[in-house]
Point group: C2
Chain length 498, copies 2
């Protein structure tokens, strides 16, 4: 065993606390021992299929016990999970599967239509229905009982500012250190239960199923976010920690009405931008402990979180970098002083080593061991982080990231479009939605409806422009670069909403 | 920053939670910020004295805030703390200081006599009274804000079976992973307070001052173990965790009488051998959660601990190896089956890389990455560890390890002694005390009293034989090897006690 190896997490947890509950999904629950047995069986089925150490396997599953089952099975084999966003359109998924050179795709029956479309475009890709996978025979494979902290565990795609998605490589070690950083901030009680109502294909959901096993605490998986179901779980099922984004929290409080959460509920971990003051005030009244946090896929979830003692005094802050991590505010001249705005730059053992196919040294996001997030913010004199803007131009809609460049690229691929610019528009329900400004080619007929249909076939629904404005020209600078800031002004001149 | 670097623990903790209480010593307390300021100042004084990265500094201090102050100051400089047992005799200390080639010795006024004796034997060694150290000017040194997990943090001497003490090298990483293994078993509450009534120069005490900073919780340091003081702290000062050995726990319960501990008291971490059943029953009645544990200096404290849910059903067990660690039972033919007795063999990132001056590859205790403890035990079918005998012949007296060979070597250096054999004798107060069997040279006069005086000048008091028996010959095997087992029989023929 080298210094970078350690016991396989699920094997070790099942050995340590076999009878503790690990997973609750609707009426069904698993102990750590039961999950481990089931996962080992699944790993042997994958082995039968030829899946080996270092192979990439795409996973397209809805929120359920199946996600941890498949991820932990692949971890046993040392294979890499390429975790796909089920909201993406078939061409987007096909691109990612191709990019990661996946040997196999495992999918839920509910996503069969999408998979058929993907398969039709890519002959020879092996796609296997989850139900068919678990009906396979198991091989007599001896599963390793250790894992390598330096081996890649997951690939999660994130759209870069250029619009081409990049596969973030997260190692076992990235996830481990993220779990350690979090536990040193949030603590760990033997009665803890963590509720998952965020997508498991996002870092926020994935990190919880990893922590559950490392910490030895149960997770409750809900198929999707329903405020009433979440509140019910907190009130009746002893949930102590929930991960949400701000807009979810607002809906939970609305549904909660005059009721309160039990005292045992100890952490509302809130990501995806600062919680509005009015919402925080409501939480304070109801004694709901809100932990505001800042994180990225590239940092394997939270990298900064506001400690409970500063919840009130540091309104709007995302706190300080977790114990193993560091954070700086920089511009091209170097580090900024407290209060000065700059780019948020981080490092730590939870931070990815880089993107698939792009060497770290050649990626401008990595400089001298530091990861440049592209997000803007500042720290106050005491070192508390205030995040001002997520990555340049990034639109966050219902917790999903939308890069304007990616949507623009699809719009531009529609022949009647000459130029396209996309910008976020404030939206009461989703926080933001994308809106497009389009210059039509003079001689071709173009309608908003036809363009929407074109987009829907190629983009996840949440990425499709909620409104398309036809204009004569787009705002550009001297170098002909699109000025999205100016588009935002145009939008506000049009009333700022839809 | 390489993968093996991370933020300096105290700097990071003071940054994260500056106002939380860190340390309580009698009427005085420090926040993390205050301790960090004081420690940085101390580090600059050491720098002034010429202490640099990689230097070895001997520390001879009684239990007080001074121990963490000095250890964290040396950690800032990347210097190595050689933590000395204040109960040792001057020649024993001199040997260790010489062996580690210490550049400097820092000591408490109360230990001046011992230090004078050490200095008289070793001209030129720089010894500095603690009070003189803190009166020194500070240098304007810039202290590194990161530490290297692979750098040696502490040297703790442990007597080997051969009787010659060996310096166990513990890296920052060994301590860090030990803290992680422990937190995943014991959990972490924001209200935690850990009481230290064990020696800070032992692994049990040292590990707590390290965890305090990593976890962000206060430690209460008591100068020595007084059952009433410990109980008072638990009952009045909100202590939630205490580290003890079995005999201390017995005295605490006796003093406690019919009283109970508050519900917030959540962990009685008990090392140094299994807790007798009668004592466990008393604890169960009083709802005191006892965590029985097994650890060595070489494993940076606990490596196995009994999880709370098995406290009752696995009586006498030391539990299972902590999350990052592994444990096997072996003999010279390989691994033993459950229920079969063998040597306890461990590995994990908390386990030392080896002893000072002896290359790991050349130390028989390390084989193929596994550390052979020399302790005997077995695991049951579920993997729970039962420790039968600490290292071959080891005598444990009041929590201190005594190696017979070391005491024998001193006895043999007394000219009128021809042969000597030392064995443990059961003792109500101390658990065990050493007893010697001696063969006198025929022509020289010899008295027990003279021998005791000789021993006291050269050995810690607790190592001096409580009784010396003069015999005509010692039991030896065909190869002339001393049979200590036979000595134990002789002792039991003499009544088994003093």
């Amino acid at each position: 065993m080298t210094e970078q190896q350690m016991p396989n997490w699920l094997a070790k947890r099942a050995f340590l606390t076999p009878d503790r509950i690990c997973l609750v999904d609707g009426p069904v629950s698993w102990t750590f021992q039961e999950l481990n047995d089931y996962v080992q069986e699944t790993a042997r089925r994958f082995y039968c299929l030829g899946v080996r150490q270092g192979d990439f396997v795409a996973v397209l599953l809805e929120n359920s016990y199946r996600v941890p089952q498949i991820i932990y099975a692949l971890q046993y084999l040392g294979a890499v999970t390429v975790l796909l966003n089920i909201r993406l359109a078939a061409p987007e998924l096909a691109w990612q599967i191709q990019d990661a050179n996946c040997k196999l795709l495992v999918y839920d029956a509910g996503l069969s239509d999408t998979v058929e479309t993907i398969k039709s475009g890519k002959a020879g890709m092996k796609a296997l229905l989850y139900d068919d996978l678990i009906a396979l025979p198991t091989a007599d494979a001896l599963l390793p009982q250790n894992l390598d902290l330096e081996a890649v565990h997951t690939i999660l795609y994130t759209s870069g500012t250029t619009g081409r998605p990049k596969g973030v490589m997260l190692t076992n070690g990235n996830h481990w250190w993220s779990a350690m950083g979090s536990v040193l901030n949030l603590g760990l009680h033997i009665e803890d239960k963590w509720l998952i109502c965020v997508p498991l294909f996002h870092m926020s959901g994935l990190s919880i199923i990893i922590r559950s096993v490392i910490y030895g605490i149960p997770v409750i998986i809900q198929p999707k976010f329903l405020p009433q179901a979440v509140n019910q779980s907190i009130q009746k099922e002893g949930v102590t920690i929930v991960s949400v984004v701000s807009s979810m929290l607002a809906r939970m409080l609305e549904q909660l009405g005059n009721n309160r959460y039990p005292d045992a509920f100890r952490c509302m971990l809130t990501g995806g931008g600062p919680v509005p003051e009015s919402l925080l005030q409501q939480c304070r009244k109801k004694r709901i402990p809100v932990y505001q946090t800042y994180g990225l896929t590239e940092t394997a979830s939270q990298i900064a979180t506001l400690s409970p003692e500063y919840m009130d005094s540091k309104l709007g802050s995302a706190g300080k970098p977790l114990f193993p991590s560091e954070l700086l505010i920089m511009d091209e001249h170097g580090c900024k002083m407290p209060g000065e705005v700059g780019e948020i730059v981080v490092r730590g053992p939870n931070v990815t080593n880089g993107y698939l196919h792009s060497k770290k040294e050649k990626t401008t996001a990595f400089q001298a061991g530091w990861f440049h997030t592209g997000d803007l913010g500042y720290t106050d004199a005491e070192g508390f982080l205030y995040v001002l803007d997520r990555r340049k131009d990034l639109i966050i809609s219902g917790g999903e990231n939308i890069y304007p460049a990616e949507v623009e690229a699809v719009l531009l691929s529609y022949p009647p479009v000459l130029e396209a610019g996309v910008v976020g528009c404030e939206d009461e329900k989703w926080g933001q939605v994308p809106v497009a400004f389009v210059v039509a080619a003079g001689d071709v007929e173009i309608t908003e409806e036809a363009m929407r249909t074109f987009c829907r076939e190629r983009l996840a629904h949440y990425k499709c422009p909620a409104r398309i404005y036809f204009v004569e020209q787009l705002p550009r600078n001297a170098a002909n670069k699109l000025l999205r800031r100016k588009l935002a002004e145009w939008l506000s001149e049009r009333g700022g909403t839809l």
